[in-house]
């Protein structure tokens, strides 16, 4: 279930398909740019990440997402729609934890705005992640801006 752009568990293929299908109703759209963030099996001190457990400040996520959309829609005037879905709870390695779908009249702004949306999510979205290792130990991780 989607609540304030958050979904409990991984972003499913079904949801991805549904969101793209919905965009078909907008015939002023000429291109979509889709970013999917996937949980990666990092290896740290000989231990492998098997899953990430996400938590979020739900009320603030809604505020921040609205702010990000407002910022992007005013900067990229050809962009018609921005969809953001982030996981909470447990997401296994190989599963999708973030979806950003930006739709625009033309491809150039769709791709630029999608990239910028992902960066703003990394910087501003009040979400935290706990990496779960294959021996069931864990560590809290934070974004490194590169």
């Amino acid at each position: 279930m989607l609540t304030n752009n958050l979904i409990n568990g991984p972003v499913t293929q079904c949801l991805i398909t549904l969101l793209i299908e919905q965009m078909g109703e907008r015939t002023d759209i000429g291109g979509h740019s889709l970013f999917l963030g996937q949980v990666r099996t990092d290896e740290i001190d000989g231990k492998k990440v098997k899953a990430i457990e996400y938590s979020a400040y739900e009320e603030m996520v809604k505020v921040v997402v609205d702010n990000i959309k407002e910022t992007l829609l005013s900067e990229f005037t050809d962009v018609r729609s921005i969809e953001i879905v982030h996981s909470t709870g447990m997401v296994m390695a190989g599963e999708i934890s973030l979806l950003v779908l930006v739709s625009a009249g033309h491809r150039h702004q769709a791709m630029l705005a999608c990239s910028k949306t992902v960066e703003l999510i990394k910087e501003r979205l009040p979400v935290w992640k706990r990496e779960i290792f294959d021996d069931n130990s864990h560590r809290w991780n934070q974004n490194i801006h590169v």
């Binding site: 400040y57 009320e59 910087e123 979205l125 009040p126 935290w128 809290w140 974004n143």
Partner: protein, 77 residues
């Protein structure tokens, strides 16, 4: 007068709770002192503070029903 304090990320483990209500705190500065009395370990962690969903960098007066969040660095995506 009561305010609600939310803890996120590693601070949930450090404090052992998701939230705690505090009575009779006048400001963010007062609140931080009360929190560090209750959870001395918290001061060893970096966090930013939000007041009613808005990140703040300076001291603010508090009023009944305010919601304050202590947020470690974000890690979305």
């Amino acid at each position: 007068m009561e305010v609600k304090v939310l803890f996120f990320g590693v601070l949930v483990e450090v404090t052992g709770t998701n939230f705690k209500n505090y009575k009779d705190v006048k400001s963010i500065s007062d609140l931080k002192l009360r929190i560090s009395d209750d959870f001395p370990e918290v001061i060893h962690y970096y966090f930013i503070v939000s007041l009613n969903n808005e990140i703040i960098n300076t001291n603010h007066d508090l009023k009944e029903g305010d919601e304050v969040a202590l947020m470690p660095p974000f890690a979305g995506g």
